[in-house]
Symmetry: C2
Subunit: 201 residues, 2 copies
């Protein structure tokens, strides 16, 4: 039977490759694109190409950047004694938003996840070790800031073992109740972690 | 402070122009695009341009099509005595999926909505009248299949008045309980419409 015209079907297929977008949303987005001006669509199209062409991985911290080394690694005001290890580029932006961290980063580009076939060799772990063994001898503390998920915890455990020979302070970000959260609605694991991580006032 | 690299920010802005996509989803989509292969992103980019370049409005029914007249208008097996008026191209596809309608369509490209500044002149109403007054004298029935919303109903009322001089059968699609629905959970207006539209068995 008769479906959407081929260019719409094709754009829908492209939208459906994105996470969380099914056929109905894809149709809605494709039709919306059709109603946008030719200039807007051209900008959108160009922005997509640019993201592959204009971005590289920072040669030092493996973060995504326009110019390598990235602005953080180049910034001489950053504290070179603390290194924060995160899973991906979005986590760096989240950390920067706190305005509380002034050290350097290392972006793993993922977490260990046997279920998805992601092992240590698929992450930027070798780069981290080379970095710590080599030029960055100013590093005194490594903060493991991978996600508090099964994969993130496994990655943090794995890294903490690997980092033992370096005689560095290795820390893990705290798990506990989110600020503004409610004890009543917290899951048991989070509440247990919050209790375990209690500090004297 | 430091945000995402500029090419990512720019792609995020483009995604945020689409309906239902806020900053967080836009970031997730932009990062996903970055992880796709260069070829896939190029296809996506091309599909966007094509949607503006390769689609036109059918000169007869105003539906979106690659070649005008559209496949439905060209199809000689379609029943030229019934014309189904719908709001947009997606509605044509929805109707075709029922396999129950074999007539022709007219796509209004929207509905009357004073709140959004959309009046009768912004819709393909003039084209409908020209069509009925001119070549399509084979039409005997016009089915008003605009959405059962305030805007759709207003448009149907407006059209039914305009079509009076043509001495055609003008009908409106039925409103009632959706198949598989539950009386208990139906809203009052739908239930009232279902009662009003009851038929003898």
């Amino acid at each position: 039977m008769w479906g959407y015209p081929e260019p719409i079907e094709r754009l829908m297929e492209q939208f459906m490759r994105l996470p969380g977008i099914g056929p109905k949303t894809a149709a809605r987005l494709a039709f919306h694109c059709m109603s946008m001006s030719k200039e807007t669509v051209a900008e959108f199209s160009k922005a997509l190409l640019d993201i592959k062409e204009r971005l590289v991985e920072c040669q030092i911290c493996c973060n995504i950047t326009e110019f390598s080394p990235c602005p953080v690694c180049r910034d001489e005001r950053r504290d070179r004694s603390v290194l924060c290890v995160v899973q991906d580029a979005k986590d760096v932006v989240a950390m920067e938003r706190t305005h509380e961290f002034h050290g350097l980063y290392h972006v793993l580009q993922g977490a260990i996840s046997p279920m998805d076939g992601i092992g240590p060799n698929d992450l930027r772990i070798r780069e981290l070790l080379t970095r710590l063994a080599g030029t960055d001898d100013s590093v005194e503390e490594v903060i493991l800031a991978t996600n508090p998920t099964v994969e993130g915890e496994a990655t943090a455990m794995y890294l903490s073992k690997l980092l033992r020979p370096f005689e560095l302070k290795v820390t893990r970000i705290a798990r506990g109740l989110p600020v503004g959260g409610d004890l009543e609605y917290a899951d048991e694991v989070t509440l247990a972690k919050a209790l375990e991580g209690r500090r004297s006032l």
